[in-house]
């Protein structure tokens, strides 16, 4: 009988990853939804009448919502896999998944899928809570398949990046460096709060080197059918990062980098 690619080790670890964040759902699901809601309240109130996006075809609050949803998805997906890994490394309970016959692929998929579930759950929560601001009709995406594709790819990228950061970090401080000096700036400078067409030429060019820009721009295309760059180009960039980061994370797991001596 052939061995399944993802066996019982994956099932157990994936379930454990989901149960881990579910047990502290106020902290892991509700808190990011509330934080994102605060962003929406403040930015939409202050900038609604001052900022024009897509040449006035979309009002600013509607424009802001997909960006905030995607930002919440990305940040929580990263937080889930990175914090789970670093906690189990610091508390040495990582041994419980290193001793059993779980393959590197199973560990990779369990952590990344767990991060995707939490990221998408938070994204769904943020999306639902924004209905009162723009009305249910305006909040519904025009091209839902694009929305799903970018939400899945974006959360997979950030879950994988969280896995890499969790393995690489030897203490919580290392993870904070990753979070505060890489994830946060790239997220905030990715076009969550603005269209890059409103930027000077230099910053527009620079934005094209930010992978987060493509995740958010492609996701927003699914809502409005309008984007700063072609959604196919965004999908190609995002797919490239999914594959490249997965290869790096798998290599780290297979060689036991910072996990097995």
């Amino acid at each position: 009988m052939s061995t399944p690619i993802l066996g019982p080790g994956f099932n157990a670890l994936f379930y454990k990853e989901c149960l881990r964040f579910w047990k502290v759902a106020f902290q892991t699901i509700v808190a990011p939804v509330v934080t994102t809601l605060l962003y929406l309240l403040i930015f939409s109130h202050v900038l609604e009448s001052n900022v024009k996006v897509y040449e006035g075809r979309v009002n600013y609050t509607s424009f802001l919502i997909p960006g905030l949803v995607m930002m919440a998805v990305l940040q929580t997906a990263f937080a889930n896999s990175s914090s789970s890994l670093i906690q189990s490394k610091m508390m040495r309970s990582i041994i419980f998944i290193l001793l059993p016959p779980i393959t590197s692929l199973e560990i990779f998929c369990a952590y990344v899928f767990g991060a995707m579930v939490r990221g998408l759950a938070v994204g769904l929560g943020v999306w639902l809570i924004t209905f009162p601001f723009v009305g249910a009709a305006a909040a519904v995406p025009q091209k839902p398949l694009w929305v799903l594709a970018f939400a899945a790819c974006g959360s997979a990228i950030m879950g994988t990046l969280g896995l890499i950061a969790g393995i690489w970090s030897e203490k919580f401080d290392h993870l904070a460096v990753f979070q505060n000096f890489i994830i946060m700036p790239l997220t905030f400078l990715s076009g969550v709060f603005y269209s890059i067409h409103s930027l000077p030429a230099f910053w527009q060019t620079l934005s094209h080197f930010n992978p987060f820009f493509y995740m958010i721009d492609g996701f927003r295309y699914g809502f409005f059918g309008i984007a700063d760059v072609s959604p196919w180009r965004s999908l190609a960039v995002v797919t490239f990062f999914v594959i490249a980061l997965s290869i790096i994370a798998m290599r780290m797991l297979q060689t036991g980098y910072k996990l097995r001596q």
């Binding site: 066996g7 019982p8 080790g9 099932n11 157990a12 670890l13 379930y15 454990k16 149960l19 881990r20 047990k23 502290v24 189990s88 508390m91 040495r92 309970s93 041994i95 419980f96 998944i97 290193l98 001793l99 059993p100 016959p101 779980i102 393959t103 036991g256 097995r260 001596q261």
Partner: protein
């Protein structure tokens, strides 16, 4: 199942070397533990015991050499090797998100045992944890956490069980319960490999012993043979002074006491006669038989002298 498993050694370690920066943790270590043995791995701190166990468990990679569990190579056939091995780690580790029962269930599922509840109940009963089954791991005392670690190692019923200092921090009564349970597992065919600082435990439980020092095996024999090699008795005498003729045979002891290592009871008679002739009153006298602790100290000190 691998057809050679029935005849394979429970654990085979072949010429393993492992170095860390500035430390040679294991130096050409070879040993074989047969199926059904109760085997002790002894040595002072830093001897290489935990490194050896980590290599068997796949937590550490050796620089050279091979290791196998029930005939399965721990590197090339690691999944089968790990299915056949249960390890109780030395460190007191736990996942603070889960209860005792959830912890054991997850561990069983990692090994592909989806319905282990009956066995988990039995483990909880034998480890005196039934009343704590639904408690969060954070709420347990150190001794209880240690017992959960034992449970986690047993939950997939591995044929080979490695216990790295399993009774550290566990009180005397529960230690006895734990050993009764482990002895039962051994009598049912499980191979047990034990590292412990309580040498009397190793002496009472284990058929064979390997002693490690500075990453090398300094003794590998049956417990009985090691004890036979330590023939003789020790005598501790409390007196104001001692016969001059025995001064060179005396070892330093606590104030007012003199220690002697004798070849047997015939020599004890000579010692007592010397005290009588010198008219020295003996206030108290203690006799000691050969034990693993003496063998351990003798062998490890010989190794130190040789190196």
């Amino acid at each position: 199942m691998n057809p050679v498993s029935a005849k394979a050694a429970a654990v085979n370690v072949d010429d393993i070397c492992k170095s860390y920066p500035n430390v040679r943790a294991l130096n050409h270590v070879s040993l074989r533990v047969e199926q059904g043995e109760f085997f002790a791995l002894l040595g002072p701190n830093g001897a290489g015991k935990t490194t050896l166990i980590s290599i068997l468990a796949g937590l550490t990679r050796s620089d050279s050499g091979h290791a196998s569990i029930m005939g399965y190579d721990t590197v090339s056939d690691y999944r089968e090797a790990r299915k056949n091995l249960g390890v109780v780690p030395q460190e007191l580790v736990y996942d603070p998100f889960f209860s005792v029962r959830e912890t054991l269930r997850f561990q069983a599922r990692y090994y592909g045992v989806p319905k282990a509840d009956a066995w988990i109940d039995e483990i909880l009963h034998n480890l005196d944890l039934t009343g704590k089954a639904n408690e969060n791991m954070r709420a347990l005392s150190g001794g209880m956490k240690r017992r959960v670690l034992v449970g986690q190692a047993l939950v997939h019923k591995p044929p080979v069980i490695v216990l790295d200092e399993p009774t550290a921090g566990v009180d005397v009564e529960l230690r006895q319960n734990l050993w009764t349970f482990i002895k039962r597992l051994n009598s049912e065919g499980h191979t047990i490999i034990l590292t412990t600082h309580y040498l009397e435990e190793a002496e009472a439980l284990c058929n064979r012993v390997a002693m490690l020092k500075n990453g090398e095996i300094v003794a590998l024999d049956t417990t009985a043979n090691l004890l036979r090699g330590m023939s003789g008795i020790t005598v501790q005498v409390s007196a104001d002074t001692m016969p001059v003729s025995w001064a060179s045979r005396s070892s330093a002891q606590a104030s007012g006491a003199f220690g002697f290592t004798l070849s047997g009871y015939a020599e004890l008679e000579s010692l007592l006669a010397a005290f009588r002739e010198a008219n020295i009153a003996i206030r108290e006298m203690k006799l000691g038989e050969a034990d693993l602790e003496r063998a351990f100290l003798k062998l490890t000190s010989q190794s130190a002298a040789a190196s």
